[in-house]
């Protein structure tokens, strides 16, 4: 690990002033960053600890919920309003990592955690465009079982590993950020980027921008929502495929639906085609299957991850059927 200075941010302004300096990095719980620094994949010269900034979870008058970026993953999953109003988010968080890691990890850090592509981590042994732009990507010809089936590019086929972000994408969450030029909000679905020619640029944040909070808009039908994660072992493993969904039915007809997929792309994948095609349709297995086939029509699996296409279809259909209750 290279050497670095460490300072706790007193407030948002102080954090941004320190964090916009060259080679500075924000530090949340450290569960991803400390590991990446140890692997020399990140080499900041200054760490600005923002884990002491707002971790408040506030129910607002317009029905939205505001979650301070320093809220620990455990605290978010434990919060009454999250458990009752946004169960898919509580479930997504509880399906991730381990009890110890969830106690340390912050919302801000979870949003910006980096891929688990093994070639990215294999600093000395493999080529990786994300680590060293222009070098090539050893995953494309290699063991790519865990890699992307949607939105990938010839430069990079990595996936975003977060469970929490999949639920946030389904909920149309907004990310509040502050930089030297002031504050703005970004839809979480626009926070992360597809790899394109620049997989090393992972988000649409400007240099030094600090995430201060995540806002969950009111969504009454999310009270009935599900997160299902399929993985190689039943606990403490990243997703192969995951699905976050909420379904609003009116006499067996889909009035509204929200669905996002994890484990399939460089960002949490909001299934907008599926949503559009399902609205107004009867809540049947057939219409669920037709909608997910439309969503995955452009899937381009790699040699080792063809199974993900079928797995995604089955998981989506199963989740929607669960939300619809007993259907034929």
């Amino acid at each position: 690990m290279n050497s670095f200075t460490y300072a706790r941010a007193a407030d948002v302004i102080d954090a941004v002033q320190q964090g916009t300096r060259v080679h500075a990095k924000y530090l949340g719980g450290g569960t991803n960053l400390v590991d990446l620094m140890r692997e020399t994949l990140e080499q900041p010269s200054a760490l600005v600890d923002v884990s002491g900034l707002s971790s408040d979870i506030t129910e607002r008058e317009d029905g939205s919920l505001l979650i301070g970026a320093a809220a620990r993953n455990t605290a978010v999953a434990e919060h009454r309003a999250v458990r009752t109003r946004y169960p898919l988010l509580a479930r997504a968080i509880l399906a991730g990592a381990s009890g110890q890691i969830r106690n340390m990890a912050t919302v801000g850090g979870n949003l910006l955690q980096r891929t688990r592509c093994t070639y990215f981590y294999d600093n000395d042994g493999s080529r990786c465009n994300k680590r060293t732009p222009g070098q090539g990507c050893d995953a494309i010809q290699g063991f790519n079982r865990i890699h992307a089936i949607l939105g990938a590019s010839p430069s990079c086929v990595a996936t975003h590993p977060s469970d929490m972000c999949v639920a946030l994408a389904a909920l149309d969450a907004l990310v509040h950020v502050t930089g030297l030029d002031g504050s703005r909000t970004i839809a979480v679905v626009d926070l992360h980027r597809l790899p394109g020619d620049h997989p090393e640029i992972e988000t649409n944040l400007r240099p030094g921008e600090l995430i201060t909070a995540v806002e969950l808009p009111a969504l009454p039908f999310a009270q009935r929502s599900v997160y299902r994660k399929v993985r190689d072992r039943a606990s403490y493993a990243f997703a192969l495929i995951s699905v976050a969904a909420a379904l609003d039915l009116d006499h067996g007809i889909v009035k509204d639906v929200r669905l996002a997929l994890g484990g399939v792309a460089h960002k949490p994948w909001r299934a907008l085609k599926l949503e559009a095609s399902l609205k107004g349709q009867p809540a049947t297995t057939q219409s669920f299957l037709a909608a997910v086939e439309e969503e995955l029509a452009d899937a381009t699996p790699l040699p080792h991850n063809k199974f993900k296409v079928e797995l995604a279809k089955r998981t989506v259909v199963a989740v929607l059927a669960e939300l619809a209750g007993d259907i034929s």
């Binding site: 460490y6 400390v34 990592a97 110890q100």
Partner: protein, 167 residues
């Protein structure tokens, strides 16, 4: 710059790179806490910070300035084993013992989480007020602690017995 370790105020190292795990083992000779993977994947380095379980390998010591850390050495009092340690002995909750300090600290933190009603991935009713510590709940909540010897059966019995006697 000070951190409290098992009740004693301790100076933090000036080198910001030192992990909480290395501070414990290499600087303070508290070698009970183990380094298994050093990357968050095994749980052998689990300690309690203000009663909450965390992984000391993914923690920089400086992040925990002013906080109170309890390691396995701090679980016993006046040379008397913590009842959970005794339960691990009674139920053969280990073979080589390498994962044990992490299992013990993790279980102590986990039971606090259960008592305050924190749900887990296998909790059916997210809205419930209290948690019943079934075998499934226990295994899910302890899944961040691997045991390469596979002493899981004994570990589950030991924690179950301890949880029942301290309800």
């Amino acid at each position: 710059m000070s951190i409290n370790i098992n009740g004693s105020p301790t100076n933090l190292p000036s080198d910001t790179r030192v992990s909480l795990l290395d501070l414990l083992r290499d600087h303070l000779n508290l070698s009970g806490t183990k380094k298994g993977c050093n990357q968050g994947a095994c749980g052998a380095c689990t300690v309690l910070v203000d009663g909450e379980r965390i992984l000391s390998c993914l923690a920089l010591a400086v992040q925990y300035e002013g906080r109170s850390v309890t390691t396995v050495e701090g679980l016993s009092t006046n040379g008397l084993l913590h009842p959970l340690q005794q339960a691990f002995i009674d139920h053969d909750g280990f073979q080589c013992g390498y994962c044990t300090p992490g299992q013990l600290c993790s279980a102590v933190g986990m039971l606090r989480e259960v008592r305050r009603g924190l749900p887990s991935n296998v909790t059916n009713d997210l809205e419930g007020e209290s948690i019943t510590l079934t075998r499934d709940e226990l295994c899910e909540r302890m899944s961040g602690n691997l045991c390469r010897c596979g002493a899981y059966n004994g570990i589950v019995y030991a924690i179950t017995e301890f949880a029942e006697t301290t309800k």
